[in-house]
Symmetry: C2
């Protein structure tokens, strides 16, 4: 691999803002890597849509990033990973990683009881992608799944600590408290923001697993395997942000998800015209 | 006007399913009129998006319906009416009606105190469209506005009677209870489904106004003015439904909004390709 290929950015896309939790984990583990993030805020959310529509939108996003020259593409969205990873792997000339496989591997390492819960959007749960990935890790796991469609709007509304969020979490999840389940996969990049309410609903005996750090480790391993890890430079690497709708709210809510101020955020039109 | 023009359908579009409450009111008032409904379920919701993006999507929808030959077009979505009515009026060769003006007129007829509340999506409230329409009716009204972003997902989730919905409504609206406000505009076609929770939060002294019946009356008046009202035929008029994502959930939740079974629902691709 040439030096110039090593210095290409990692491309990361999400339906909107949630994938910034994954970007953050990647940047923390791999501080020398430049990144390009695309949030498809004009068409968010994906979790209520069909597999065919999600795949079409994911291909738009992936092609936008591929055209900007990325060495590796990360689908930082559970819904899009569940629906579109095979299509993207097949049609792009760039290695592609999703968030399902790393999250499932981590959960199957954590569980002692062999009973794992998965929560996510309607589309992620309906796809059965986590179920299949968990079974590939450990064939005889018991897996319970539940869609939690109100969690994304609650996170976007910034109501992480509101009593309403605790009530919604109890309505969805209290049936799992006190049972044999010991591990719960937060199968949506928005959900880590709601960790206190989710933990309160299921009780302290269940370990919550999110994919972000597991994805970052997989990215590091993959870049190393391909000899594509960036060399630390004298200056900080470049981090670019693109969105498909106006950037104001993305910049504002993004600070919560990323933990620090975003730099420039540029609006782009990626829909075929 | 020729006989054949009178028998053309009324076109109705919405970002998704909420506009069926408007369609229902039109069909009840004008049972001889054939209709075509388009729900842009692949890109729903509009209420979190910018005016420019909403206008682009609304133009796609309107052109799809215009190409099928409609005599009148109804934007059965507050967000799209607020953002895109002028653009659609200018660019389509068909008369276009939105839901804001009829709702504002009805509310200004109802109020005695002159203090009116408006709730809607972030985009509808930010547009100020209701404020302007109300001021055109009665210049010295006092208008209070508030976005209620969680109401659409709660309605879509079918939690109309859940205690959580009552809590969310109280959080958003209880500050208006017991004050001088006597009229509240439900500025989103999803909100009528949540009437009990909204009424409980604001108290019985405030009259809730939704646009559906007012829009139906405006449609009837406009068709009559243009001599385009359908003649009652020997068979029931045709009602067609199109959606931009898979029809299953639309058909299922649509029954709740429409009050009866939908006929055939066809999936179409309206995005430029």
């Amino acid at each position: 691999m040439t030096e110039s290929q090593r210095q290409l950015p990692i491309g990361v896309f999400d339906s909107g803002i949630g994938g910034l939790t994954v970007l953050r984990a990647i940047c923390e583990l791999l501080p020398a890597e430049p990144t390009i993030y695309l949030g498809d805020t004009a068409r968010v959310p994906y979790g209520t849509k069909s597999s065919a529509v999600i795949t079409r939108y994911a291909l738009n996003n992936a092609r936008f990033l591929a055209a900007r020259g990325v060495k590796l593409l990360v689908i930082a969205c559970n819904t899009a990973s569940a629906a579109a990873l095979p299509a993207l792997t097949e049609r792009l000339g760039v290695p592609v990683l999703g968030v399902i496989e790393p999250g499932a591997r981590k959960a199957s390492d954590v569980t002692r009881s062999g009973v794992i819960g998965v929560i996510g959007t309607r589309a992620t749960v309906a796809s059965g992608a986590y179920l299949q990935a968990l079974r590939r890790c450990v064939p005889d796991l018991t897996v319970h799944q539940k869609p939690c469609p109100l969690f994304v709007p609650l996170a976007e509304e910034g109501w992480s600590d509101d009593p309403v969020t605790y009530s919604v979490a109890r309505t969805y999840l209290s049936e799992w408290a006190g049972g044999r389940m010991d591990t719960l996969i937060l199968g949506c990049t928005h959900y880590p923001v709601l960790t206190p309410a989710i933990q309160a609903a299921v009780g302290s005996g269940i370990t919550l697993v999110d994919s972000a750090s597991a994805v970052a480790k997989t990215v590091a391993a993959e870049l190393s395997r391909m000899s594509l890890s960036a060399e630390p430079g004298e200056t900080s690497p470049d981090h670019r942000y693109y969105v498909t709708d106006v950037p104001d709210r993305f910049r504002e809510v993004g600070r919560v998800f990323l933990g620090y101020e975003l730099g420039d955020v540029e609006q782009v039109d990626i829909e075929p015209s």
